[in-house]
């Protein structure tokens, strides 16, 4: 069970808004880069987010560049999951690969600052502030296994190869 506060963002939060190209020189210094997480979307975010909180987006979250540093610094900021209406393809894989859950559901009913409770097993999100309950789309099984191991590197260290579920 995950519990934390919602930080609400709009549609089309690009990886340029999460970690802009002008900070390219910090990519091999992740703790420093993490101080700027989502800075161009909300300059106050990095200072306000606490361990366990949620980034809640609209449509097409994480579009743009393949930079894995984007989900990585969101995770380093303490965020326990990203919740969005839809997520760009590369960002989705990257988030799972660094062990950050991505939950797809209608986020219109979740407001900035709401207290959320997420049950990854049951597949639902409870908004404790508004009382709203919403289910999220199931994560494909191969990604669940990667997530279970904490990311793709620990997954590969354990299995040594991709293990496809029996169809």
């Amino acid at each position: 069970m995950l519990k934390g506060q919602a930080f609400k963002f709009g549609d089309s939060i690009s990886t340029d808004l999460i970690v802009p190209g002008r900070l390219l020189h910090l990519r091999s210094n992740l703790p420093e880069l993490a101080k700027h997480v989502l800075e161009d979307a909300d300059p106050t975010f990095a200072g306000r987010v606490h361990k366990g909180d949620f980034v809640v987006g609209g449509k097409n979250f994480g579009l743009g560049s393949s930079r894995e540093h984007a989900p990585l610094v969101i995770k380093m900021a303490g965020v326990s999951a990203i919740i969005a209406k839809s997520v760009a393809r590369i960002f989705f894989r990257n988030a799972i690969n660094v062990g950050l859950p991505v939950l797809i559901c209608d986020t219109d009913g979740i407001n900035d600052g709401d207290e959320l409770e997420v049950d990854l097993e049951e597949g639902n999100i409870r908004d404790l502030t508004s009382g709203l309950e919403v289910g999220f789309a199931p994560i494909p099984e191969i990604m669940l296994r990667i997530l279970d191991e904490g990311g793709l590197v620990p997954y590969i260290r354990k299995y040594g190869d991709f293990v496809l579920p029996k169809s």
Partner: protein
């Protein structure tokens, strides 16, 4: 039931019948990184603790901040060069060009599966390769295992027919398409391009379209492999690698969109999203401080020839700086030989080395507060060119040249 291009390629590389929705593990013909994603890839690769599957199928490109503008980035480059020297992975160093252009010139062939730690890896779809962008860790694992897992995408067929009108290019077609379906209109899908207008397109024009497939969210942007593919491979000394590739007539498409290119007009993406499109003629009067011509989208010889032709004997508008970055060393040399570079420099252009240059906001043309750039690149997100207080418009090289001459967004048909 027949197969789409994506299903055909993945069936061959996964040794199992690949149908939309299946999850397959496919052999990888090339895994590559560039200097913004490479250092993390190397660290993840080392962490995974496996050897390199095949150095001959692993490439590292130093193109995004090349030559380096900062010591931290120089150290990233040192780190990448060291890894390449130790493992035998192929290294392309500063000045050689943008990874996607070099992959097209020297690596990609029809039927390949290519994974690159760069979203514009889709560019090689123009040669009939299932080429897709991934993050550092996915590519690190592909480097170690020689394979990757993929969900076989559903396919949206784009059928382009009609004759290309004057002043309209493949860039206008892809901007029009993204404007129509939206920046997430093809998320997780394969975009497959067919039709007589596609057959008539040069490889240079096809690469522009495949490059921007990801701006509609697509996993791949695929073209059939035909006579144009064959002559492109031959031109680059790789003719023997040609194989014809086409979708089956009875393939199953999620949707089919018909576009009559004869009705297209010069198109521009306005700040701050690629799908925010308008016609160039309707943006007359929008003042532009910088025109940037280059990148993996539109920095090829055909583009430079067009721009040089339009600017010959003229000067750029005094308000508008003109920055030109050829996409590869091969292109730069050919452009020198043909006199295009002389023409552009005489027109007042600043020619920068082959590489990504100003596109991603690190160097060689970062914008000032309130400034606007019209660029031939593929992305105009807020902050993309290094300053969230600036504005980026995207268009074809012809629209860029016309705009450089007039100092405001200009429909190229007024100048051609």
């Amino acid at each position: 039931m027949g197969q789409t291009l994506a299903e055909k390629i993945l069936t061959a590389r996964a040794d199992t019948e690949a149908r939309a929705g299946h999850i397959v593990v496919a052999r990888v013909d090339l895994a590559f990184v560039q200097d913004t994603t490479g250092p993390l890839t190397v660290r993840q690769f080392s962490e995974a603790g496996l050897p390199l599957h095949n150095p001959e199928k692993t490439a590292m490109f130093i193109d995004h901040s090349a030559p380096s503008p900062a010591k931290e980035l120089s150290n990233d480059h040192v780190f990448m060069r060291k890894f390449a020297a130790e493992t035998g992975a192929k290294l392309s160093d500063i000045g050689e060009g943008v990874c996607h252009q070099l992959v097209a010139e020297s690596w990609a062939k029809p039927g390949d599966v290519i994974v690159g730690a760069d979203s514009h890896t889709v560019t090689a779809g123009a040669l009939g390769a299932f080429a897709t962008g991934m993050g550092s860790t996915d590519v690190a694992v592909a480097m170690a295992l020689g394979k990757t897992w993929l969900r076989v995408p559903e396919t949206m067929r784009i059928r382009a027919n009609g004759k290309w009108p004057k002043g309209v290019y493949s860039k206008d077609l892809i901007l029009y398409l993204i404007g129509m379906i939206g920046a997430d209109g093809a998320t997780y899908k394969s975009l497959e391009f067919t039709g007589e207008a596609v057959t008539a397109m040069s490889m240079s024009q096809r690469l522009t379209i495949a490059n921007m497939a990801v701006e509609a969210g697509a996993k791949v942007g695929l073209f059939p492999s035909d006579a144009v593919t064959q002559s492109y491979l031959r031109e680059h000394g790789r003719g023997e690698l040609f194989v014809p590739l086409a979708p089956d007539a009875d393939a199953d498409y999620e949707s089919t969109t018909d576009i009559d290119v004869s009705r297209l007009e010069p198109t521009v993406s306005k700040p701050h999203t690629v799908d925010n499109t308008a016609l160039a003629k309707d943006l007359k009067g929008v003042k532009i401080e910088q025109v940037f011509i280059g990148t993996c989208t539109n920095g090829r010889l055909e583009d430079l020839a067009l721009v040089a032709g339009m600017m010959k004997g003229k000067k750029h508008h005094p308000r508008t700086r003109l920055v030109v970055a050829p996409a590869s060393q091969k292109i730069l040399l050919a452009a020198i030989e043909k006199g295009y570079i002389t023409t552009l420099v005489e027109a007042g252009a600043t020619v920068v080395p082959p590489g990504c240059a100003a596109c991603l906001g690190v160097h060689q043309g970062v914008l000032g507060n309130g400034e606007s750039c019209l660029s031939t690149a593929n992305r105009n997100f807020k902050g993309r060119m290094g300053n969230p207080e600036s504005f980026v418009y995207l268009a074809s090289p012809a629209t860029a040249a016309a705009t450089a001459l007039r100092g405001e967004i200009t429909d190229p048909r007024e100048v051609l």
